[in-house]
Subunit: 263 residues, 2 copies
């Protein structure tokens, strides 16, 4: 690093502070510095610098939280600006018709990342559940995301997760082939014994999944065929509403963020 010997170190420390806030979104400065495994002086100074820039904020109760500036910048991320914005009206339509939890997700490094979730009555569910990931091999959304993934993405997923996933779900390859053939995924009682997950892909013009649209319904619901049609209709609307050309919403970072030890 020619000009900025500590640039890497600063960014890694910043990422560790934010990762600690993802675990526990409101912490005293002391707890946060400890959770991020930063030296005390370094940690306090970095928190102050991030507050100055609005990336962190201090609550009335003296705890550090993620700052509004991060939220402002995030509005411009394609996952929000393109996918969620295109999808939300159609998700509201599905939610109004199906009256069960409706979810939008994308394939991320370690599973299916929930982008938006509407609960039964139109309320947004526990926000802790948005931006979390579910296991791809155990969810209907994961199945359609894998079944309709771009080839390179699917290959990378199988190389990284295939062995462990097939050990846990031996029928996975057959299920993905079925999801591909039928155009939807249906998993009954896997994550929750009382419910079924029903998912369809949101496809780009080349037939690759940009996202999965899912409803979680009672496992013995006789209306699953109707729900499927509602999902398929909405997924086509979302595809049409997405700006072109598409951005790689399923793209993983160039390199995984290092799990750097405390310095």
């Amino acid at each position: 690093m020619a000009n900025s010997p500590s640039g890497d170190a600063v960014l890694d420390r910043v990422m560790r502070l934010f990762a600690a806030l993802e675990e526990q979104p409101s912490q005293t400065p002391g707890d946060l510095v400890a959770a991020a495994r930063l030296p005390r002086t370094t940690g306090y100074r970095l928190i102050r610098e991030l507050r100055t820039r609005g990336l962190l904020a201090l609550t009335d109760g003296g705890e550090i939280v993620v700052g509004r500036r991060v939220w402002e910048i995030a509005q411009h991320a394609p996952i929000h600006r393109e996918l969620r914005t295109a999808a939300l009206p159609y998700m509201q339509d599905v939610n109004a018709v199906v009256r069960q939890t409706t979810q939008l997700s994308v394939l991320a490094d370690d599973g299916a990342l929930i982008v938006e979730r509407l609960s039964r009555h139109g309320a947004v569910a526990n926000p802790a559940e948005v931006a979390t990931t579910m296991p791809a091999h155990l969810t209907s959304m994961g199945h359609v995301l894998l079944a309709f993934a771009p080839q390179r993405t699917a290959e990378r997923w199988w190389a990284e997760h295939g062995d462990r996933a097939e050990a846990a779900r031996p029928e996975l390859r057959r299920e993905l082939a079925e999801a591909r053939r039928r155009g939807h995924g249906l998993l009954v009682g896997v994550i929750n014994t009382e419910t079924a997950g029903l998912s369809v892909p949101v496809l780009d013009p080349r037939g690759r999944a940009l996202a999965a649209l899912t409803v979680v319904v009672p496992r013995d619901s006789p209306e699953i065929p109707q729900f499927l049609m509602a999902l398929q209709t909405a997924a086509r609307g979302i595809s049409r509403a997405m700006p072109q050309p598409t951005v790689p919403l399923n793209e993983t970072p160039v390199v995984r963020s290092p799990q750097s030890p405390a310095d």
Copy 2:
């Protein structure tokens, strides 16, 4: 800066890259480096480091965009996690009843910052309009945000913006006193000659505005009294749904981010 002489510089450069992406959310690396006024080598290296951490991403078309990791972190910001999550179901109710653009905003450094906006038919409007700010002295949301602001926030706003605002809107103090007395703000034909803005505050338990809830309606609508009751009802629901104790959603950064020159 004892341990990290270039920490400030790195963070300032990062902020300049993100600020440039707020102006133009998808740019070639070369254009982005130029827009952020960074030296070419420094800029390319920083973009690479930010991509490694998922804070930036590269589109299929070779352009740099805000990365998904920023979006994930932003889900934990109080403005999203607490305010928007509490408000969205009630905004949907207002939108269903009033059938006009429904907005949620907070008082920010330079105006009323739009947190969420639902359009007439339940669709989310142009995302460029979320996370932008409107002039506080010329909008009904700005009026209720100022009229019900915590005293320290109001004093700071008047010190910074008062002279310019009163020059542009000589009746401002009277309007704010009226908004305070009536519990709502109504501005007709100011931003758009054809429309009226009608806003109520979302109050914390001490009667201070956490946010403003607004509908934009045709200027001569005979239904404004009914719309006001819908807004007041929804605002009470949002107040009740907000987690306690409240965080300083109206807080500005400790120090304004410096407009640092190119290095």
